[in-house]
Amino acid sequence: MNFLAITRATLAKDMRLEWRSKDAINAMLFFSLLVVVIFSFAFDPTAEESRRIAGGLIWVAFLFAAIVALNQTWAREMKNQVLDAYRVSPAPATPLFLAKAIGNLIFVAALEAVMTPLFIAFYRLRPLGAGWQLIPLAILGTWALVVNGTFFAAVSLRTRAREIMLPLLLFPLSIPALVGMVNATTAILTGETSPALWIALLVAYDVVFTTACLLLFETVLEAE
């Protein structure tokens, strides 16, 4: 029963299921598109201004897209109580969590990949700082949302108002990560300051909370 084999198998299963019934991803892609368009109507800044506020807008838009995806994390497992089949098997709980988190990362990254070019077009963005740093930053930031998101999606399964509970539990804890992402993005776009400090914060955040999630997920899974 090695850890990686189960993580890989669960991830492959989720990807296959996602690929087979593409309706979930299509609906969310359309939702992300809507969020970007609405943001662009709501704010119509000049080129200079847009560099300053784009960081905040992009990450809030990503947050909306992520929440919608994270709410679906355990939908398939709940449908035919397949989660029980997993819990009865000798497989440990951590690979299930890791596979689900990675699956969510890929899912949300796909949404972001669609939203980013639209943002660049609508806001005529051209980063003055080192533009390439936006890619690792996006991964670090998205993982910060996704790892806690997957964990608290499992916690909110046990509550009454499941869809609203996830943001209530996730957002307060994600404030430091959000502050980090927004400021790092703005630093890169405006090129005035160095994003190093913020990226260090995000790395610390990801390490601390990934560890906490891996250690505590089994406790949550077993809490009937």
């Binding site: 806690n148 916690v155 046990r158 509550t159 009454r160 108002a161 509970m165 209530l168 539990l169 957002f171 307060p172 804890l173 404030i175 430091p176 990560a177 502050v179 980090g180 400021n183 300051t193 400090l197 913020w198 914060l201 610390a204 955040y205 601390v208 909370f209 906490a212 505590l216 406790t219 949550v220 809490a223 009937e224």
Partner: protein, 228 residues
């Protein structure tokens, strides 16, 4: 037991009134801000007490995760609830102080922002306890409390970095403090801790009673079913 409670209540009343008197009359008036600076003696100690209560909540949650003792769970719940009340005080007195001095209702001051984020985390903690359908709600709450505690240093550094790039006025605590002010601050801190202790004790007794009543009701419905 009852006697101990009344002693504490009387002691708290004495401490609070003395601290109130000290804050208004003993402490010297601050040159630049004038009398409004005296909000400091309520604002800062409330924040300290709130952080202490959340620390106890974290410790009790870790103990619950290890030993699953109902006592630790009740202490964690009580400290979270009373902690949120003290946090609310800080979040209300902060802006009331900032308004006359800097003409703004909100400033990203380090302590104020940290209190706001902690308030959000622990309100979500209480919401989780209320909405949870699981038969092991204390377990889920304890896990959230651990996550909340891990978040505190992250919040601290993110605000500290944020403020280095967006300097904003500092509410109290900036620069050296006149020793007499320091002493009055101490009196208020002790008085508020006594108040917190008193409220926590009451809330704890209430929680114990509530759980006992639930138990009794369960037994009662059991007997009724048996009788039928």
């Amino acid at each position: 037991m009852k006697r101990g409670f009344t002693i504490l209540a009387v002691l708290t009343a004495i401490l609070l009134s003395f601290a109130f008197y000290a804050a208004l009359l003993i402490a010297p008036t601050e040159q630049t801000m004038g009398n409004v600076q005296r909000i400091f003696y309520y604002h800062v100690p409330s924040a300290w007490v709130a952080f202490e209560l959340f620390l106890i909540n974290f410790v009790a949650s870790v103990i619950y995760l290890i030993r699953r003792s109902a006592k630790a769970d009740m202490i964690a719940l009580v400290c979270a609830e009373v902690g949120v009340v003290f946090c609310t005080v800080v979040l209300i007195t902060g802006p009331i102080w900032a308004r006359p001095v800097w003409g703004i209702w909100w400033t990203w001051d380090l302590r104020l922002t940290l209190t706001l984020v902690l308030w959000l985390i622990y309100v979500s903690y209480l919401v989780l306890r209320r909405f949870s359908m699981s038969s092991q709600t204390p377990l889920l709450a304890a896990v959230l409390a651990v996550f909340g505690a891990l978040d505190v240093p992250m919040v601290y550094f993110s605000i500290w970095f944020f403020r280095t790039q967006h300097p904003s006025p500092v509410i109290g605590g900036g620069g050296s403090l006149d020793p007499r002010m320091g002493r009055v601050l101490l009196y208020n801190w002790i008085a508020f801790m006594a108040l917190a202790w008193l409220i926590c004790w009451t809330r704890y007794r209430l929680e114990v009673a509530e759980r006992a009543v639930h138990e009794a009701e369960a037994m009662q419905s059991l007997k009724e079913e048996e009788a039928r």
